[in-house]
């Protein structure tokens, strides 16, 4: 009996020695693995707001379905049920499940009701994990500005890409204690890491108006594409930027590159008559011409380098003002020839052509204008009327904004503020410095000339609105046929660019319609779109009319 007791004591002693000394490290590690649960800290991208604080991009928390192949119990019936629940083919699901392993995704970011239905199937070996899904609650609205993210929330386009380093944040791990039944103890740590929020200069209301109107124009003219940009001419704040065709950033996988392209900054076109402003401004600035100076364009054509450039309609003698107002090609070429190629080039560069505007969106192109030494014999006849140059709609709008604001070139931008998740202002991009490029006097004179374009006798009459003066310019340009390398006789780009109210500009707007059918002229195709947008935009912004007709007042405000 004594021997048994002594032997038992020794057995207990050896076991304790084994547990507490010899196997201590191994067992301690194993215990830790069983007691401590490690989870990734969920990363939430920052929210994107419009200028009024309306959410344009935010995050949802959805459940993703995964499986543990080693313990998965999936017969044919279960596969069929699972496939019908998540609306996938059974074969697609089977290809996602490896024969062995501890983890494999089956479907990411399921809608809450679908996740609940999958849970109801009670299939052993399936599990759910919470993941953040980026959503754009306004759908297509401002999709080319916002951009989108991939399935792992990696930035792919637009603001999401440009400001990715502010929107995303670092994750990390969080450790929990847990008991034998799997219940976790509080870690006392926030399981979420939030990125910085971004406030855009875009206004959802103005963006909606712009998108609605260009959509209408696309349908009306059977156009291939359309772009419109609205900007504050004094600050460079982009108030609206829209393109058609467009896409829903909530489903970027279903979109082709043609729809994704932010053509307002990535596509070049020959500006046509909207470029006549360059020679006009240069002539005034260099004292080559005065507003009342006469130009004889009665012949209807002018020969430059063996090529004859003609007017659409034959005019007699025109003043400098009328050359711009009636968009005379012959008059513009005459002015260009008086200036000479060096000065035409100098002012084109001063007005920002051939260089990126520096907008804070990815993919902007610089366009191009050849330096004078590379001009051909016909270039001095082509460039003053907006041929042989490639511009983006944004560049043209910026040049006209310089006229609107009294002669300064602004830097267009779409982000006004970056705010930390706690609400602290990190970066403010407002009220940036402007670079004066032309004199105030020239800007004011040219503003008056552009007002004439929208008045009776001008090419842009259909851009005029009741109650406020509009200043602007029409543009009609041919597109080069890539097969023949010559200007197409069927394909045109119609545009209108201007600002309103002309004497106290609040909005600068460009409308570009690519390949309209039936009509081609900027004054017919694009100018009415300008009118439609500005009329509603002024109403939306509560900008009063300049004259007061006292006709049947409906309501009194302010």
């Amino acid at each position: 009996m004594n021997t048994i007791i002594i032997f038992s004591f020794f057995a207990v002693f050896f076991r304790l020695t084994d547990l507490m000394i010899l196997s201590h490290k191994r067992l301690s590690e194993k215990a830790k693995q069983q007691h401590i649960k490690v989870e990734d800290i969920q990363i939430r991208r920052g929210i994107i707001f419009d200028r009024q604080g309306r959410e344009l991009a935010l995050n949802l928390e959805l459940e993703s379905l995964y499986c543990e192949p080693d313990s998965l119990n999936l017969d044919n019936e279960s596969v069929r049920k699972l496939a019908s629940t998540i609306a996938k083919e059974p074969e697609v699901i089977l290809t996602k499940i490896p024969s062995e392993g501890k983890f494999a995704w089956i479907e990411r970011k399921l809608e809450p009701d679908i996740a609940e239905r999958v849970k109801g199937l009670n299939i052993k070996g399936l599990g759910f994990m919470n993941e953040a899904k980026r959503v754009y609650p306004k759908g297509k609205l401002a999709s080319h500005v916002l951009g989108f993210v991939g399935v792992d929330n990696q930035a792919l386009e637009g603001i999401e890409l440009q400001y990715d380093r502010y929107l995303k944040t670092r994750g990390g791990k969080v450790f929990f204690g847990r008991d034998a039944s799997g219940r976790t103890l509080s870690s006392g740590v926030d399981k979420e890491a939030k990125g910085n929020n971004i406030v855009l200069t875009i206004d959802e209301g103005l963006q909606g108006i712009v998108e609605k109107e260009i959509e209408k124009a696309m349908l009306q003219w059977g156009a291939a594409a359309a772009s419109a940009i609205m900007m504050d001419p004094f600050t460079g704040e982009i108030l609206a930027l829209a393109n058609r065709p467009s896409y829903d950033p909530n489903n970027p996988g279903k979109v082709n590159d043609f729809e994704k392209r932010n053509r307002a900054i990535t596509d070049c076109y020959e500006p046509g008559s909207t470029f006549k402003t360059v020679v006009g401004i240069a002539a005034l600035e260099e004292n080559i011409a005065r507003p009342d100076m006469l130009f004889d364009v009665g012949k209807g054509g002018i020969e430059v380098g063996g090529k004859i450039i003609r007017d659409v309609h034959r005019h007699g003698i025109l003043t400098f003002n009328e050359v711009i107002q009636k968009s005379s090609n012959v008059g513009s070429v005459m002015i260009g020839m008086r200036l000479g190629k060096e000065r035409v080039y100098k002012y084109a560069k001063l007005l920002g052509f051939g260089e990126k505007t520096g907008i804070d969106l990815p993919g902007e192109v610089s366009g191009w204008i050849r330096p004078p030494e590379r001009w051909s014999g016909t270039s001095i006849g082509a460039i003053p009327i907006g041929q042989e140059v490639a511009v983006t709609p944004l560049q043209v709008l910026r040049a006209y904004s310089a006229i609107a604001n009294g002669g300064s070139l602004v830097r267009p931008h779409v982000v006004s503020e970056i705010i930390s998740p706690e609400g602290k202002l990190l970066v403010s991009l407002r009220d940036m410095e402007m670079n004066r490029i032309i004199s105030k006097k020239t800007a004011e004179t040219f503003k008056d000339i552009l007002k004439g374009v929208v008045e009776e006798g001008g090419t842009g009459k259909s851009a005029s609105i009741e109650g406020n003066e509009v200043a602007g310019k029409t543009g009609t340009a041919q597109i080069i046929n890539p097969k023949t390398k010559r200007y197409s006789k069927e394909k045109f780009v119609s545009s209108f660019v201007g600002f309103v109210p002309a004497d106290n500009p609040r909005l600068a707007l460009i409308v570009v319609i690519y390949e309209p059918k039936g009509q081609i002229y900027g004054g017919v195709v694009a100018a009415p779109v300008f009118r439609g947008i500005t009329n509603q935009a002024l109403s939306y912004l509560d900008i009063p009319m300049e004259d007061n007709p006292h006709k049947n007042p409906l309501l009194v405000s302010r």
């Binding site: 306004k138 009063p544 309501l555």
Partner: protein
């Protein structure tokens, strides 16, 4: 005599100290379980809140508001020609006591108001 009382007292104190420690520890663990359950509940509510926020943002979008108003209520943009803007006469007394707009202005205005609005209020 002293040791007769002192010894059991010490043992009782020691035992009660030990039990208190165990009791405290178990209470801490129970609280941690409760906290964990509350955290889960909070996470659920936050998740729901996010869904509701997204739904609200979607319902308040320019497009859906315009469509619903136009469809059922025949709302249209006001005809600018029929709108007259009247600048209110400044009332020094009301401004002095902070009643110029009926309510006191909020300090630290919202960040969203950018220069467009600033210039609008200081406009012609």
């Amino acid at each position: 005599m002293m040791s007769f009382i002192f010894k059991p007292l010490c043992i009782a104190l020691l035992l009660s100290g030990l039990f208190s420690l165990v009791w405290l520890k178990s209470n801490v663990v129970t609280l941690e379980y409760k906290l964990s359950a509350l955290e889960k509940k909070k996470a659920e509510y936050l998740k729901e809140r996010r869904i509701l926020l997204a739904e609200k943002a979607s319902l308040q979008s320019y497009e859906s508001v315009e469509a619903s108003l136009r469809g059922d209520h025949d709302f249209v943009f006001p005809d600018r020609v029929k709108v007259v803007h009247v600048t209110p006469v400044r009332n020094k007394y009301r401004e002095g006591v902070g009643l110029s707009n009926g309510v006191k202005r909020q300090k630290g205005s919202l960040t969203k108001k950018a220069s467009l609005e600033k210039r609008q209020s200081a406009g012609p």
